[in-house]
């Protein structure tokens, strides 16, 4: 037996066990993605004659999308949602809560943890309706506004994105907090003590010691919450329906409205392909950051 056949055998032994899983991935993940790529090049629709006889239209959907003034706005809203609610909101608030929970008395930590985690564990649609009941006209804030003499009856109309961002921070902070709590607990006490003995204050110990040690957790967390936020859908549909106008139509909502409300499945699919690209770009960015840190 020469070395190359042995290598092949070893390879076969290595890969056989993952074949079923790989087949499932191809069937249920790669399949739909390839179908979407194809559908985005057609005028496939939900009703009308193109529902039975879709035509191949080349890049027409993409050209229409890139020349539609709604598209840059929608792309910006999507990125704004990621920056404001994931990178800044969930990430920083999660870190602050995790740090505080290390110092605070254990009972208080438990109470705060439960409250934060509650927002995360309740089913999506229930959480969204809770938020709607708070912000909508005739809701809790509207009633409170009347007590203090403010008109908060149309918050969702005038500040749709701000409210969507707040709700997404509320829903998602627990995830970052849990990741960071675990990461902080993993830091050896000796290191922190050594720093304190050397005269490092709390800020220095955080920025110079804890953060660098936690960097892998931070980047993993950033990647996960970014992808999570990229696909936020129910919050927006329940709270604003993407409106008023298109003022809170992020890419997933825009894709849904075009595909199902206006029956243009091909066009909607083109938007979702762009969404995949945006997600991929963020992922590549994070993976690159992760890699350079490894080489340090």
């Amino acid at each position: 037996m020469n070395s190359s056949t042995r290598k092949k055998l070893i390879n076969a032994e290595h890969y056989t066990p993952i074949l079923p899983a790989a087949a499932m991935m191809v069937l249920f993940l790669l399949g739909p993605i390839i179908w979407s790529l194809y559908a985005s090049l057609t005028d496939y629709s939900m009703v009308g004659s193109t529902a039975v006889n879709p035509h191949f239209v080349g890049l027409k959907n993409y050209v229409a999308l890139f020349t539609d003034p709604v598209f840059p706005k929608s792309l910006w809203l999507t990125i704004l949602l990621i920056l404001a609610s994931a990178l800044i909101g969930q990430n920083i608030l999660g870190m602050v809560l995790a740090l505080l929970s290390q110092k605070a008395p254990r009972r208080l930590t438990k109470v705060v943890d439960s409250i934060v985690v509650l927002a995360w564990v309740i089913p999506d649609i229930v959480g969204c309706y809770c938020a709607y009941a708070l912000f909508a006209g005739g809701g809790t804030l509207d009633a409170l506004g009347k007590v203090v003499g403010a008109d908060w009856s149309a918050l969702l109309y005038y500040h749709p994105m701000t409210i969507v961002i707040i709700v997404n921070v509320w829903r998602g902070t627990a995830f970052s907090m849990l990741i960071y709590q675990a990461a902080l607990n993993d830091i050896s006490k000796d290191v922190i003590e050594a720093a304190e003995i050397d005269g490092a204050n709390a800020w220095q110990s955080f920025f110079r010691i804890k953060l660098p040690i936690m960097r892998h957790s931070i980047l993993t967390n950033l990647m996960l919450i970014t992808l999570q936020t990229l696909s936020v859908f129910s919050i927006i549909i329940v709270l604003t329906g993407g409106g008023p106008g298109t003022n809170s139509s992020t890419l997933p909502v825009l894709a849904y409205l075009e595909a199902f409300n206006f029956s243009k499945l091909g066009y909607g699919t083109a938007i979702s392909v762009i969404l995949v690209v945006v997600g991929a770009l963020f992922s590549v960015l994070y993976i690159k950051l992760l890699r350079t840190n490894d080489e340090d």
Binding site: M46, V47, G48, A51, D68, Y157, G243, N261
Partner: protein, 452 residues
């Protein structure tokens, strides 16, 4: 047998065996089951009782058969999407469905519906339907695909007390747009705290504000239309379109209508019917025939002596030109899926849904306008609401929206145009020009034509 034939037989055998495996032999009972899809909204107790009555009668008349009710819980737009998705595949398609008659043409083009001309020939009740309502179920190929359940009409509802104080008669009937604006101006002068009139506009209410607002204006101008049915093209740059926008601009900029913030509240419809009208805060509103149903006993906001305070009349054409009044109509119909395994049984169910008793009950419960002669004479239907005779008679002025799969997108552009003039963001000319370029882009230049 040629090769292709062999392959198709093999495929057929394979798919049937898979089908049998997956359904565990339920295909036999499928033949005796009629799946019926309909929209279930919030309060459906009366409608669900109606359905149960139909189910009981159908199952008693057809031994061994089942009418399987499949409520689709959703709002208007989502119901259309879900029904279209269900209709795409044989496995999920219902046998019988309720659908917006505006959707018949797009559904037929997609091959989702089955023509029922042959079955209608053998159904004696079909002669009871008015010719105009028979056409509601007809597609471009001249075949009939749906039996209408009912229709609706639109007019002006006004507060008699407010009109009296403004010096107007309490059986008011304006004869032109100017008379409407004149009345609103009088209300504003005599009662500054009252909102003189409401005409829906803008995007938050979607199709409601287009059909009940803008379309009532446009189709009441001479020759005004969104869509030229002869050339099958969308009309751009028409004077009638600008006139209609101008009317909206006038009432909103002169303070004769709600403030922009009020007008763009998605809950405006409920506010008008349940608060502003009963509390005498609004002079008049352009509304559908069903407005009073929430004031009736058992309605969402019961109001026992509403008839003393509220009057109703038709909406006039622009300059009072013939036929004098205008109303927009839509409605729902019953249709058979092209995928149904048992069209005869499905049509039998349709006949039970639309026998005289159940047809009248549906129109009474849902607040619809009758589409058949016998129901129009039905005492229970006529007695259900004092406004019903008037709004039934309005049907002769009715115009219909373009029944075309592109309508929804065009309608959205109309809503955007009305919103930008009501908020004062754009002039009528700019808003109309923007509408023209937007629809040319969405439907394609070869589907539009400039107005003559």
């Amino acid at each position: 047998m040629n090769k292709l034939g062999k392959i198709s037989v093999m495929l057929l055998a394979a798919t049937t065996s898979v089908g049998i495996l997956s359904s565990c032999g339920s295909s036999e009972s499928d033949k005796k089951t009629v799946k019926f899809a309909y929209q279930a909204t919030g309060d459906t107790s009366a409608i669900s009782k109606w359905m149960k009555d139909v189910k009981t009668q159908f199952e008693a008349e057809n031994k061994g058969a089942t009418l399987k009710l499949e409520p689709i819980k959703s709002n208007g737009d989502d119901y259309g999407s879900k029904l279209a998705l269900m209709s795409k595949s044989e496995k999920t398609a219902p046998d019988l469905m309720i659908l917006d008659t505006e959707m018949i043409r797009p559904y037929v083009a997609a091959g989702y519906l089955k023509p029922i001309d042959d079955q209608l020939k053998g159904w004696k009740d079909w002669s009871q339907y008015f010719d105009s309502s028979k056409n509601a179920g007809k597609a471009d190929d001249g075949k009939i695909y749906a039996v209408p359940l009912g229709t609706d009409t639109r007019g002006i509802w006004y507060n008699k007390d407010i009109l009296k104080k403004a010096g107007l008669s309490d059986d008011w009937q304006p004869k032109s747009w100017d008379e409407v604006i004149d009345a609103a101006t009088k209300i504003k002068k005599t009662q500054p705290d009252v909102i003189p009139m409401n005409l829906y506009a803008g995007r938050p209410l979607g199709e409601v504000s287009v059909m009940q607002g803008f379309d009532m204006l446009l189709y009441g101008t001479k020759g005004g239309t969104l869509y030229n049915t002869k050339t099958q093209k969308w009309v751009t740059g028409s004077k009638q379109f600008k006139d209609s926008l101008q009317f909206i601009k006038d009432i909103y900029s002169k303070g004769l209508a709600p403030t922009p913030q009020q007008a763009l509240d998605p809950q405006l419809g409920d506010k008008v019917g349940q608060q502003w009208m009963p509390q005498s805060k609004l002079g008049m509103s352009i509304e559908g025939n069903w407005l009073a149903s929430s004031w009736m006993p058992g309605g969402d906001s019961e109001w026992t002596d509403w008839q003393k305070h509220i009057g109703w009349c038709g909406f006039p054409t622009q300059n009072g030109q013939k036929p004098g009044l205008i109303s927009m109509s839509g409605g729902w119909g019953l249709a058979l899926s092209s995928h149904t395994q048992n069209p005869d049984l499905a049509f039998k169910a349709l006949k039970v849904f639309q026998n005289e008793k159940h047809a009248a009950a549906y129109d009474t419960i849902s607040g619809s306008i009758a589409v058949r002669k016998d129901v129009e004479q039905d005492k229970k239907y006529l007695g259900s609401n004092p406004t019903i005779k008037f709004f039934t008679d309005l049907a002769k002025y009715s115009q219909y929206r373009p029944a075309n799969s592109q309508y929804k997108e065009v309608s959205d552009q109309v809503a955007i145009a009305t919103e930008s003039v009501l908020t004062g963001q754009k002039s009528v000319k700019d808003a109309a020009a923007e509408y023209d370029s937007a629809i040319t882009k969405t439907v394609g230049a070869d589907h539009t034509e400039a107005a003559k």
